[in-house]
Symmetry: C2
Subunit: 494 residues, 2 copies
């Protein structure tokens, strides 16, 4: 029976993915510094084994045969998702993948070296090479999937996402934000005039911050019997659903960036920890794409962790662990701080989408050929001035050399960040209707009801639906920018 063969393949691939996930998390947390070369060699060999096994020609035959077998509905859906993975995995010829991997890795290395120096001229030829291959990839995938080239790239990160649906929503959001950012800044300034910002004391021992982080993450639902918190240079959520590794980094001068980071990664972790266990070794059992994953992390960070009601419960917890008493207004002034800046990863929830929309617009033009890499600095600067009133023309390291995504050929990924923020706000709006006292619950440190809703509507659904389907099934309507703009209005509009 071919379904059984696919099921067994799933177990083999799950074992290799388990190893890759734990080796990857271990590399960033516990590996000895000299272990990197052998680790990279081992992981690359294991990834090669996984790819060869998952893309072998006979898998296509098994899937075709399984599609004609007498299966229950769950198995049928599992086969469909096997098919989707297989089609995407085999859309590119091996020769192309090897060429692209070499080009991409060279460009990434160059980027790490030249970004610090702001050397755009030195970086440009490598980026041009990556863009050329990204256009080729988009065209190859488009042919296989029957999609437009840029849609075919987005499809890798969020199945079902289409420019035709997203572009108008982003355009609406952009129009709102270009006006709203100055307004939010003005509101903030007026507030600060009345209530000057109380600075952080600057003395937060790491061990206490860690205890605080553990207290918060478990309160909002992280299961410490199936996961852990450690330290790494770049915070991440990794590991496997039964052993989710989240990390943070600490600065003893302040505690909010680590705490908010822990809540963000906890959001990712809750999704992973609550995926259906019985599907764990099937593609069907995986989380549904990057936008939905980001919506879950942003939900915990922004909808829970930056919610004023949350801080009614959280402030005594902070005081208990850090020995420092704050009023709600004092802490919210930090938690809701808005600032125009050049750097996406440092941006707050008001300005962040403009960074993403800028990139979304530029990368569509890069893939279509309407924009060439050599014209990026000017195009970037123009949009930066239009959207945020800032210029990057003299600082390419803060402009088109800012992110690792393009050097590593991840075109089509950026929209996921802002889609995630919008989905989180839309889910929050639905929850507020269905659980009217949800904020009163937060104020008491109760997160069971909100998690039950999310488990029912998102986590338990794994990869049963496309991203747009999952949004609509969870919230009762398609993606709608109004929920996110209403959220920003309520929190930052004064």
């Amino acid at each position: 029976m071919s379904f059984r063969k696919l099921d067994e393949l799933g177990h083999r691939l799950a074992a290799l993915e388990h190893a890759l996930a734990i080796l990857g998390a271990d590399e960033a947390t516990h590996m000895a510094p000299g272990g990197g070369e052998a680790r990279a060699e081992a992981m690359s060999a294991l990834a090669g084994m996984a790819h060869r096994q998952a893309s072998a020609p006979e898998i296509g035959d098994w899937i075709s045969a399984a599609e004609t077998e007498d299966l229950n509905p769950e198995q049928q859906t599992a086969v469909a998702e096997f098919r989707r993975h297989y089609v995407n995995l085999t859309a590119l010829p091996t020769e192309f993948v090897e060429r692209q991997t070499r080009t991409r890795m060279r460009c990434e290395q160059l980027w790490r070296d030249l970004r610090a120096k702001g050397d755009w001229a030195g970086f440009l030829p490598a980026l041009e090479g990556v863009i050329e291959l990204a256009r080729e990839e988009a065209s190859l995938r488009a042919g296989v999937l029957g999609l437009s080239p840029y849609d075919a790239l987005m499809e890798q990160f969020d199945p079902g996402n289409r420019v035709a649906d997203i572009a108008p929503v982003f355009a609406e959001l952009k129009a709102f934000l270009v006006d709203f950012v100055p307004k939010a800044l003005e509101v903030q300034e007026r507030r600060r005039e009345k209530h000057p910002l109380r600075p952080l004391s600057g003395n937060y021992p790491i061990e206490r911050q860690r205890e605080l982080g553990l207290a918060m993450m478990t309160a909002v639902g992280f299961d410490l019997t199936r996961g852990s918190l450690s330290v790494s240079h770049h915070p991440f959520c990794g590991g496997v659903p039964t052993d989710v590794r989240i990390t943070t980094r600490y600065r003893t001068t302040e505690f909010l960036s680590s705490l908010m980071g822990i809540l963000h990664e906890t959001g990712h972790a809750l999704y992973e920890q609550n995926l259906p266990r019985q599907w764990a070794h099937w593609p069907l059992g995986k989380a549904r794409g990057m936008a939905m994953h980001e919506s879950q992390s942003l939900f915990v960070e922004k909808q829970i962790g930056r919610n004023p009601a949350f801080w009614e419960w959280a402030l005594p917890v902070v005081e208990k662990h850090l020995g420092e008493a704050w009023s709600k207004d004092e802490i919210l002034a930090h938690v809701h701080h808005v600032e125009r800046g050049l750097i996406r990863v440092d941006a707050d929830e008001v300005t962040y989408p403009l960074h993403v929309i800028l990139r979304f617009e530029l990368e569509q033009d890069l893939i279509s050929g309407a924009l060439e890499a050599r014209d990026l600095p000017e195009a970037w600067d123009q949009k930066m001035r239009d959207y945020l009133g800032l210029s990057t023309i003299d600082a390419p390291q803060d402009g088109p050399m800012q992110d690792v995504h393009w050097p590593s050929a991840a075109f089509g990924y950026f929209p996921s960040y802002t889609l995630g923020a919008m989905i989180a706000a839309q889910q929050w709006a639905a929850i507020e209707k269905e659980i009217p006292d949800v904020e009163a619950q937060f104020a008491k440190g109760q997160f069971d009801a909100v998690n039950a809703w999310r488990n029912d509507r998102v986590w338990s659904q794994a990869s049963l639906w496309s991203t747009p389907e999952l949004i609509e099934r969870a919230t009762g309507e398609p993606l709608n920018a109004a929920h996110f703009t209403a959220h920003l209005e309520a929190r930052y509009g004064g």
Copy 2:
């Protein structure tokens, strides 16, 4: 070229072994408690992949072809070791391995449960099943290897070890120890009458013990850029040569068991860290068997760590980290404590070999059929009374139910422990001749010369030679009990 195929196979197997080693170490140190089931599944699948790839029929053809190719001497030796591994790996039919694995795992589980209760009658049938299959395994391996059955089992742990060579050496050692143990105890008693034992203060914070352990392990040569120290329930040395994971456990009431444990594992780690890197992905590049590995751990623990000269350097280090001053005589009274006991793993270096020789004698008879499992309690008790003057007849949990080795079908392993102690003493005797001031060096905290000798004679040799060849090449003579007995005489004979 077939050698290239073997070389590529080596890289693939090394990647899987890397994953298994790190996943195994991670499981005992950093894994979330709920991650065990998925981890076991993943590791078993990866082990299956490694076994299938290493034992595939075409590998035999590649080896045969490579044996006729025009290779340099290093490659020829590599092929010979590929052959040795392949022969041992394929000596047992798959059907037999599966049957044995099931029987063994059931017996191990039963052992964990019934040992605590001392339920020999409940345990006996499972052990009988394991012994029956061990006899079958020994006979199958003997046929393939052209060895006697018990030799064929020892060959898995220490290539080249033969009863004909070891039994006389062990017999000599036993005769010596049966007289020497009472003498050493008498010497100790006389000393204690003059100088009563100064008890440990019983207040040793874990973090300080850890710092002390790190200071000692790096002083004797552990490279912290290619390894680390963490905590686990059972101390071990795991990981990979570029990232060796050693562990310990701490009790705040005393510091010597953790410190000596760390030195022991550091001995294993030094061997792994200093294996030739260019052979890392070949069987040739692996450490030479269990006896030689144990000799390296015991060398650091006993020849270095329990050497009085070592403590001249070590006492100020202990004082610095634990804030407690000891005289050399005071600490040596603890470090050289001798005591007759029932439990092998708790035994000191004087009494330990008698525990091993007892098991070595019994398991030869179990494999040959001269002894049946049901007669083990009496046979064990008889030897225990003869060798150590103790009885286990009323406590099977301290007798034949004591160790995990037999329930897990590891017959032929026990000799490695005492061979390791003898090899360490023999290497020490050679070193004392070649580096006459070695103890003066220890007293100054200098371990470079002794490590250079061991690197030259042992670590760099990896699996170039059989165990007996390696002993003789390193020390200039075959295994000779006189060095170990002389060592015990000098340290414990008064």
